[in-house]
Amino acid sequence: MRAGAIKDKVAIIGMGCTKFGEHWNMSVEDLLIEAVYEAYADAGVEPKDIEAAWLGSVGSAFTGGTLATPLKLKYIPITRVENACATGMDALRNACFAVACGLYDLVLVAGVEKLKDSGYAGLPEFYFHPVYGQGFTAPGRWALIANRYFLAHGINPEDGKRALAKIAVKNHRNGTLSPKAHFQREITTEQALQAPIIAWPLGLFDCCPTTDGAAAAIICRADMASSFKDDYVLVKGFGLAVGPGLGKEDIDYKYDHLPETEAAARQAYEAAGIKNPRREISVAQVHDCFTIAELTEYEALGFCERGKAVEEVEAGTFTLEGELPVNTDGGLKAFGHPLAATGLRMCNELYLQLRGKAGPRQVKNPTLGLAMAQGGHPGMLLPVITILGCRD
């Protein structure tokens, strides 16, 4: 990877995001139209300006046609992207490469997921083999990181569970400041601690909801961005590290940290020229599908030392008023998690924060933001990271 090859080459000039939640009366197509037309309006572009598009969807789309059909995009290249929960952000990443290389000036990225049509609570079960790989859920697979992580760092499990509860409380609070978030109510630490256990240490309030939603971005060459808007946002770097599933077959995979996420962070920081993420990053959106994910991601992303995340949570480091605010819009926990829309929703929050448009949850004078969408589960992660920054 050539450091700096993508930095400042591509700009985000418009974004859109539906309200996340239970959209009983909206289809996949409706959600896409809502998000994309909001992005068109924000960028000040028309459908005919779109030269190419990328559509991210884990299970709600078939092809690029799922985007072309409702939007009536005629005969342009559209690629459907699927990379688990990294899908939406990976769609953005690939679109940025196409613009950076000079092939297109202006393209569209969208991510959509319609989970509430299934009739089932929670996500469908994902399996890696028709016979032996069945019987596990997403919270179960994520709960696996808790035992060894707590043990490796001498964390009393009760202290660990309390830190998880505090992350849930923080994200629920941030959600109340986000009109488009799925959940708009605060919870207490005690409520989170007393909630029914789903997969220890994860209780109900440690798990994100199943949500419908879509988000979209209009991106263009950085050198033409100012013709659309003054306060565009620049892409600084990406990281994507796909794990080969070592956790289930490698006795050296220890389940006490997230090696894939650390690898993706190294790529992203190198691409963006970041030496000290804790100091340089002003605001971050990370993948809190479960609170234990957010806790361990603090360390994997270099926001704190290994084994110190519980102490940092207790110190309030990642609250809206803290040193490095994380999940300012409520995260997956409160904003919701329509799989492929999530990565773009995170970028949307950075896009608002970096331009000072985040309203009551606005972070003071941010310059650099990080978003990380985590596909897979401990033992087989595929994290994707986007670093965005204010225009020069």
Partner: protein, 470 residues
Amino acid sequence: MPAIKSTGAYIPYYRLKREEIARAWGGGAQKGEKAVANFDEDSITLAVESARDCLQGIDRRTVDGLYFATTTSPYREKQCAAIVAAALGLKKNVFTADFTDSLRAGTNALRAALDALKAGTAQNILVIAADCRLGAPGSDFEQTFGDGSAALLVSSEGSVSFGASYTHASEIIDQWRTENQPFVKMWEDRFVYTQGYLANVKEALSAYLKENDHALQDYHKFIIYAPDSRRHQEACRMLKVDSQVQVQDPLFEVVGNTGAAFALMMLVAAIEEASAGQRMLLINYGDGCDLFALEVEGEPFVAKERKGVKGYLKSKKYLSYEKYLRVRKLLEVEMGRRRPPLVSSAVAINRDRKMIYSLHASECTNCGRAFFPPQRVCLYCRAKDQFREISFSERKGKLFNFCLDELAQSSDPPVIVSLVDVEGGLRFYGQMTDRDPEQIELDLPVEFTFRKMSEAEGFHNYFWKCRPIR
């Protein structure tokens, strides 16, 4: 002279106290408890377990026949013995056969095995009987029936040799289960036991003794099938044998009547307690009678790891009646509104059959590291297609990591997501069964067990799980 080279048994982990059944339905409770197969067990998986027990310390390549007996075959069309042979990793040219539909199926299989040995068409035949029958809720059968399995390796040489034998067929409608009935049915009990069971046993024993010019006193131990404890005592009285001294304990109070497996389980228990020079008579009933004389010639072969009836009786966990209804699927229970794992593929199973049935891993021939599932490209040295397959079903391991997944669908929640570091340096990612969720901790010693995973696509999907060492 055909002989028994090795024996094995299997008794499920769960037990149901008969007073617990009486609590649910009122009325009297028979004495003791019964063994209950877990939700992921059926006659095939029970058979695999007792066969593994029997084959401890035996070279599996020497087995050239596998006879499987049951009245509760999971398939109406499809051979169970072939599935059991696959799980045991037996050689390709093993002769497999199912003996089904009769309580005498276990001894029918044994007789056929002895005939094959006498005829010289086989040297080592594994005879396995397993049953998990259901009595209708509230019935006497519900109290008497238990689940279990026995296995005998019958060979041209061994420490327990077979002597004379006897058989007769007898048609009587005493006890039955038609194609579509889930529960065993019977005619009025006085008729059934006097005209069926007792009359047949008496006739068979008399005929056998007369044919061979033997007397009761020529035998030290009688192993007598009976439908229940009361009839067992009646039979002993009728045959004039001392039920305390001369008769093998029929396991009613600790296991229950295990159907086609019952007589052979009693035989295995008898051999476990036998001393050299002991002469035994085995009598089985079901649509007729089978009799076998046996003599213990030397110290029976017992491998170090073998658990047998004695070993499996020691490890158990009690069920409530409500949980019994759930694990035996006697009641449709809400499993949560989750998408059921209904996907399977006969093609994928066929392609991965060694991994799925025989629990194969790959061992890199370049660097020696081993992986499950088998990998073509080595994770460590990246050597491509340089591996040999090894089975690790008999290895032990330690629970490296786990979680209790309360959301995953199961008849016995929570699902224990388990990462096992197996002896020899490989990792297994799967489920744990036969466990007490409160007793699970990191580094717990575990072993592997063959289980039914699902009924996806209308057929039974089998694979291996780990369990705390029993």
